[in-house]
Amino acid sequence: MGRALDGWLLAQTLRDPGGTVALGAEAWTALLAIARAEQMIGTLAWRLNGLTVPPSVAHILADARASAEQGRVAALWEAEAARRVLVPLGVRVVLLKGTAFVAAGLHAGQGRSIGDLDILVPRAALDAVEAALLEAGWEWVKPDPYDDAYYRQWMHELPPLIHRDRDRMIDVHHTILPLTARITPDAGALLADAVELKPGLWALSPNDMLAHAAAHLFADGDLAGGMRNLWDVHCLIAEFGTDGLAGRAAQHGLSREVGRALRLAAALYGEGARLTPADRLYLRRLTARDGWGRATRPFTRMAFYIRSHWLRMPPAMLARHLWTKWRKG
């Protein structure tokens, strides 16, 4: 592979693991650093499992698989802990993102790094959910009245809670985008069409998983973690196809985002796609890593960072938000 040592090296390896036979020591070193920086070392390790790689690399990848497995166990237990507490409320507790993938045994979950436990519950149940979690040993992470009011008024989730014994965070969402975003996905439909994994634990339908991944990527952040997010998209499509996806995306007001996610995932990991100029800019930003795992192309990054704030909050609100932050120093 005569590739530059950037995010494309990781993408190309995930698409075609056999291509690694051509990698030399420097490229392997870069690939591992980039995969770690994108939090995809476990995914890479599973993708290369069984292939002949240099002994040192085999060693590192085996450790990464073991580490991902331990992460999977911990994530599933955290979901189980939440399930036990929330089952008596009789509301749907929908697992999101990585935990949902591993709980449902999806390809996207294989080797995936999983951080906090993200769940979606009906907005009307938010207070009851919060009370039940507090009763069962979860505590507020930061007792800051401004941040708290901000979260409650404008965000799509409760302020994060952490369990006092297990030291694990839970994010309780009632929809998949902040209320300040211009797009308002149909949260009721997300819940209504969820799939029960085991009594009391649900996952989004495959098309809603795709809609969520797209929303998360383009409307709810600065594209950080984008390569992993698009790998999720790629795996979900490979497993479930795209039947009914266009209609569902339209229902959530996410047609543009879902369309772009499909094109970018195909460009990175699949058969390629007809790209718009904006798509190319996104790809440039998504793959902006050097062989040391460092984020490169800072100007592209900054543009996206500002953009993500604007998307989330109408302008006056952003000014107020920043002002409060500045005042606090």
């Binding site: 331990q70 166990v73 911990a74 599933l76 237990w77 189980e80 802990a81 036990r84 297990r166």
Partner: protein
Amino acid sequence: MDDSRGDIVYRMARPETLKITHLDSFTAVFHRASGITHLVTSPVPEILAALGEAGMRRVDLMARLSVDYLLGDADEAALDARLDELVAAGLVAVA
């Protein structure tokens, strides 16, 4: 709440889900489903042994413990609390 618990049958988590090692007066229990290590001491190992895989109700557990281990002074409230902790930790299952 206490009344409704009377008929609940508690049993030890399936043996293949636990790894148990004795370290002098303590017992280290590795719980595979959570990846969490519990370092426990009396009466927890006794409770786990008494419940076994068959399991039993709370009153029967109390009776068994007082016969087998002379834990006669263990009051019911304390036992309830231990049982709840063990259930939360996954070491004891509600049948």
